[in-house]
Symmetry: C2
Subunit: 474 residues, 2 copies
């Protein structure tokens, strides 16, 4: 690789090739680990364009990277010649237009930073994932990210009005509009959302914003049986209630939080958190009360309800810190993101949670069932001793069985975290008829296959051997 060409584009300091740095950029929040050839940090759209033109001429793989908080391996390079395009320096908020209800940002803007900047105008960009403290808008677009409030506000795809995209060959194109509706040519920007960096580099996005709700009320309820909690979720949705959040935590998640964080959540089979928001208190009351009634009809007990931010933060504390708690569940054990974000129809929520427990038991693993059940998302984590080859073999079998079940009940491999490497084998099994079309679109836009190659439809058929695993196996 001709480093001087790239240094000529972005400057000496913004091209890194020392091994220590490359190592850091070889992993993300998934189980995978690779090693890139270079890290390049562009500061403008024109630089991205020039980098792509160069990479395309040399057929060098390019992987755009935001925070590296992806859980399926999106940002892990499959080829040691790869350029990691570190987008974090492109972090300018270009326009905030509260009167037109949109904002325009560079791809490296961090989600929480954007929402902090929008707040004084009374508006918000709502599809934020749990990692919003570090996640960049570009990464969220690549992954069609969503989070806690997607039951009411939807995912990233609902908010991307337009974008500027750098194509594989370096061409810069403008897509979409600034208006609420649009019917003006292929909605390519909607195809780019969720394409995991394989079709182009998102450099700028025009995002729909919504008013910040004035009131927010959160309740938590206990259930002595997981099935009752699952049925409650289905019944709340079926009732026409419009929660702004509807979260499940199973007994393993509860125990994890209590044990590692010294919390005192009630050790029942399941907790449900339900929230409503809005600008009129009567309406929020109405939603919360309707949901409370359904909870009680299904044998749940509401143990706390509050409008107050401080109290809400306390109520939600256990759920908020769950991921951290699971990571510290057992000394030496790892909390892995495998089969961790399936989406299933609401009516299948309870059965899916129970099935996950059965499969975990069968293979001697610890698995939780929790998540944004109001949007159909069932989160899990597989806790295991990562140093043992047997743990990984067991995890692999468990993952396969979980996905088979999810497919059986009409669910889908990934609701939130994307496919990339970890989810590709199972996803490919159930999406066979779609893969040739994806491949055709991919090659139409990236004929040299330089944009994040080896992911999605091109990912290896076994996630366990797709890359090195980033835990040390004995």
């Amino acid at each position: 690789m001709d480093l001087s060409s790239l240094r000529g584009i972005v400057g000496e300091d913004n091209v890194r090739d020392n091994v220590a740095e490359l190592y850091v950029y070889g992993a993300d929040a998934s189980v995978h680990q690779g090693l890139p050839g270079l890290v390049v940090k562009p500061h403008s759209i024109e630089q991205v364009s020039q980098i792509m033109a160069y990479a395309n001429s040399q057929k060098i793989p390019v992987i755009a990277r935001g925070a590296g908080s992806g859980m399926s391996g999106h940002a892990v390079p499959m080829d040691t010649k790869s350029i990691i395009l570190d987008m974090k320096a492109m972090n300018r908020i270009l326009e905030i237009k509260p009167d037109d209800m949109y904002c325009r940002v560079e791809a490296g803007v961090v989600d929480d930073d954007l929402n902090r900047a929008l707040k004084p105008y009374g508006i918000t960009y709502p599809p934020s994932p749990a990692s919003s403290r570090i996640a960049t808008i570009g990464g969220e677009i690549a992954n069609n990210a969503s989070g806690l409030r997607s039951v009411k506000y939807g995912a990233t795809r609902e908010y991307v009005l337009g974008m500027r995209l750098v194509l594989a060959n370096g061409d810069i194109i403008k897509l979409g509009a600034k208006t609420r509706v649009e019917a003006a040519g292929y909605q390519i920007h909607r195809l780019i959302v969720g394409s995991e960096g394989t079709l182009g580099i998102v450099v700028e996005a025009t995002l729909k914003c919504v008013p910040i709700p004035k009131y927010r009320c959160l309740s938590v309820a206990t259930f002595d049986q997981l099935e009752k909690a699952g049925d409650t979720i289905g019944a709340i949705i079926a009732s026409g209630a419009e929660p702004s959040m509807l979260e499940l935590m199973d007994d393993i998640a509860i125990k994890a939080v209590n044990k590692t964080l010294n919390m005192d959540l009630p050790e029942v089979e399941a907790l449900i958190f339900f929230e409503a928001d809005g600008k009129v208190k009567e309406a929020v009351d109405h939603e919360i009360n309707s949901m409370r009634l359904i909870v009680e009809q299904h044998g749940g007990t509401v143990t706390a309800t509050s409008y107050d931010l401080k109290e809400r933060t306390k109520i939600f504390g256990g759920r908020k810190k769950l991921f951290a708690a699971l990571s510290r569940y057992k000394d030496g054990w790892a909390c892995t993101s495998l089969a961790d974000d399936m989406a299933v129809p609401y009516t299948q929520m309870a059965a899916t949670a129970r099935k996950i427990h059965q499969i975990a038991d069968k293979y001697g693993l610890i698995m939780t069932a929790y998540g944004h059940c109001g949007s159909g998302v069932m989160h899990t984590k597989i806790l295991m001793d990562p140093s043992k080859k047997e743990s990984w073999d067991a995890a692999k079998k468990a993952v396969d069985e979980i996905y088979d079940f999810v497919d059986e009940v009409g669910g889908i491999t990934s609701g939130e975290h994307g496919i990339a490497l970890s989810k590709a084998p199972s996803w490919k099994k159930t999406h066979g008829d779609m893969l040739p079309v994806m491949t055709k679109i991919k090659f139409a836009l990236d004929p040299n296959n330089i944009l994040n190659p080896g992911k999605l439809q091109d990912a290896p058929d076994d996630w366990l051997t797709a890359t090195k695993i980033r835990y040390q196996m004995l």
Copy 2:
């Protein structure tokens, strides 16, 4: 063409080639007129697949047609060998799942029929366009349709969770999911929405539904100046209000309704209709009152407000029948859909309406400014004597000037009615960088260019000579 092959697929009765029928299928609600070679009416996905395989092998153009209510020429054949695929027989509602908040339908289902079927379950499919009485779901998807309530509920693209698509070569593929969120491979279904029948034939769709609001309150206000009405719309949106409808009617529209339908709307410079909906009356009251205050601050006078369906129907009567009124504005004159659905930022609404009037005056045409301004959509119609060549030449100049202005203020060629033929010349001027990418995607999916050829990026550069005009010119 070998009729026996097609008759073998769909049966004798479902292949029509007599000229009288072909003539009817040569036009839609646009100004354009063509003539197809055949009309074929499939009754199943398998039949569509076989028809496409045959057409692809013979390189015969295929144009899927729903109600033919498109206003830009989507369903008008450009080649006399074309097959019109009449989708109206595929009109089964396959699933209604209120507990999972979705339904699954064949593409030929009529929008109002679907909503009638959903109603007993307390749910609705909200992006309905004004033509919902006849428009099919397949046509709405092809066009990314939206309507009166898009300011709150958005467009078709926000509701298509998944679909079955027949590709140009006859392959049948399944796209998307049944769940609220999804991050499982390219969102090809979102690309198909708005692709105007050029990438595949949508045969089945899984659609997100929402609860029917319990309360709906509509107000109407008069303004002595169009600018004040325009500014009010911007101020309502900027205030964080969440109208379920926000409509403008200018003086020409008011006069048209009064004159042709014997109504007695106040002959002011502008009317604004504003509506709120929800399940709690206090919240609806709050929205209506907030908007009323803004109206009054901007010099408007609220003349009626009602929750009652019958009264609301009466209040909205003039706006509802506007299109019919414009069509009968002057004996022998036509109401043409040209430059009829631009979208502009809210802050540009008043200026755009005024500009339309100026341009109409300049060219001796009659043009209204009205529409779903809450979503940024500015509707117009050009009223003229269609028998005179000069009218069309004037219309062409007016259209060009309007689109230049819309582009200048950050708006877009089409918010609702799509590009097809009528809007293609202006749209191509402003979307030059996107066209090569569209062409690449098009040829990746339809290498023989048989799916609705000659539209969008491939449309002729002059709409006036693109096809015959369906009015008799003297």
